[in-house]
Symmetry: D3
Subunit: 138 residues, 6 copies
Amino acid sequence: MSEKVAVYRRENFNAAHRLHNPAWDEATNDRVFGKCNNPNYHGHNYELIVKLIGEPDPATGYVYDLKLLSDLVKENIIDRFDHKNLNEDTVEFKNLNPTAENIVVVIYKILRAKIDSKYDLKLRLYETERNFVEYPAN
Amino acid sequence: MSEKVAVYRRENFNAAHRLHNPAWDEATNDRVFGKCNNPNYHGHNYELIVKLIGEPDPATGYVYDLKLLSDLVKENIIDRFDHKNLNEDTVEFKNLNPTAENIVVVIYKILRAKIDSKYDLKLRLYETERNFVEYPAN
Amino acid sequence: MSEKVAVYRRENFNAAHRLHNPAWDEATNDRVFGKCNNPNYHGHNYELIVKLIGEPDPATGYVYDLKLLSDLVKENIIDRFDHKNLNEDTVEFKNLNPTAENIVVVIYKILRAKIDSKYDLKLRLYETERNFVEYPAN
Amino acid sequence: MSEKVAVYRRENFNAAHRLHNPAWDEATNDRVFGKCNNPNYHGHNYELIVKLIGEPDPATGYVYDLKLLSDLVKENIIDRFDHKNLNEDTVEFKNLNPTAENIVVVIYKILRAKIDSKYDLKLRLYETERNFVEYPAN
Amino acid sequence: MSEKVAVYRRENFNAAHRLHNPAWDEATNDRVFGKCNNPNYHGHNYELIVKLIGEPDPATGYVYDLKLLSDLVKENIIDRFDHKNLNEDTVEFKNLNPTAENIVVVIYKILRAKIDSKYDLKLRLYETERNFVEYPAN
Amino acid sequence: MSEKVAVYRRENFNAAHRLHNPAWDEATNDRVFGKCNNPNYHGHNYELIVKLIGEPDPATGYVYDLKLLSDLVKENIIDRFDHKNLNEDTVEFKNLNPTAENIVVVIYKILRAKIDSKYDLKLRLYETERNFVEYPAN
């Protein structure tokens, strides 16, 4: 068995979004996205859980200092998306539908570039207490 | 001691909003409302807890059938505010800043008119898990 | 201002019940109680929160030792109702419809007799995370 | 790395059950199942979390529309088990002990037949906040 | 009915403590405080909920800016008690047993002096998810 | 697909600890461990989730009787660490820094020796609601 340990850090951000495919007419958008297609947006309290897998450093007993992980997530994710309109205020979702699935993949790509590749990275994103996503899936 | 019992029902809605006072200049709005003044809106998962106080009906053992209370809240509050932009899509907040305090008072006035005055009514509204409000206060 | 402090203890029990008024015909019971009228019962994880108000004892700093309060609730309430069919297995609900309202009043009467009257007592009972009750109401 | 994303939907149902092996005498049933062997049943608020793994549809950004997943779970699972006595009211548990393990496998088989095999399916079922199960296990 | 609204802010701190009465012998301390009398301390994740009652300012819609309330609680309470040994590191509990009851009264006195008396103030303090206290009690 | 089911049991313990490397000077300890290096300790409400994977016994429908699993965890883990100072009161952390990572590995080794190897074992340990760890990692 590997000596690897997983460490998790939870962070939160609140944002507005609209689900919409500009290639479709309004009737199709309404049928597919329902209330989420509201042109004036709605919003959520998003909860992000960041998981890193690695070996604890014998000198510290830490896989990764979770205070530093929190700072890294705040600088790269929370400051970027918190209290924003995902469709209007962010380059990431100008041309990408901000579903929870697309948001979690976008966040993964940003964080993956900032975290040493020796750590496995996995994310869970809650859009509501009943709807949530995970990436990568396995 | 009164034989009155309080009954509670929890419901949820997700909405976008912006905190802003149109009588103020942008610098003042930014100073007072900070990130919440984003002109493109942000959003929340709101959680509403409705409390009624009354005497249980001896025939049913119910103060108020919570299925009927849920239906009443859904018809009058959830359908009105869920997946909406509070500032843009609702008459209630066209000219009223949609702070949690103002939202809970607006919801109270709507529900109070729909619920027999023999019941005391009190509401709690969570904007996030760390920020919430209650009305009436006592 | 009073120097009184409120202390709270949470306990849990799991039970089956049926909502039914034997004075009514089945059609009326079905209309009023819906799925809760299932003659074969359904069940819940009940969560009970016991609140006592009193003055902290200067020698201990306790209003009431919460370990002793937990023991008292377990002996008088949890042992009586946990893993029971409220309608069939308890004398309290042989002739009383086991709505959350009636359950909380029954539990109050049992605990009130066991706790020194110098303490105010108030109970909250969750039937589900969305439906809960409180007694006394004020 | 796969581009697959996991999506989750939480649903709830409340049911009565009894744990019992009819091939055993009562003393053995009492020893093995303790309070759960109550012949008059007890009950729980079950919480079901359904996980699907698949690739987001580029046109929608959805792996699976969670509104449709919720509808599917309600039609096939919640309507079948909510406010029921699992032992008495369901064909699935007429001859199968309704432990959490057996319930989650039964639900899996029902949902697996209703969901396109291109999606991996995994379930978590909470019987209480302290006892829960998952299937498949890996 | 008053136009007053209650606003709430949740904060957290983690601390060590020991329950002990130096006027008693060890046998009495052990009997009364049990495991909590461990001379080497144990600890908790404390959760503090601050409630203010006041009238919303018509210009802002705020009873009290919860960002400012959070800052005030952090400066006066969290910085004082977080990651501290309440018995050893704080003047407040040098000669006062750090029960939840005594902690909530101490926090109340500190915050009451910092918050305009036009606001009613009430605190809830969770020591664990099952044991919590409130002050003032009414 | 395997017929294996995962079963989970949640338990809690409250403990004091200090993060510190005696091979380092104080300045380094302060820089690395910050407030967690407080020589007088701080503390947490730890939440432990034990996961076992195995095949349900056809006679019981249980993978593992969760009452017995709870007893086993209480005897071997909760009694050992609850209301203790991990650094001072336990042999396990006399010479091992009690980070969440090290605690979860220590608990794993204790439980692994007590549980039949036919069961896969995995642990999650919450130090706070925002910081938690898992072992083994995969």
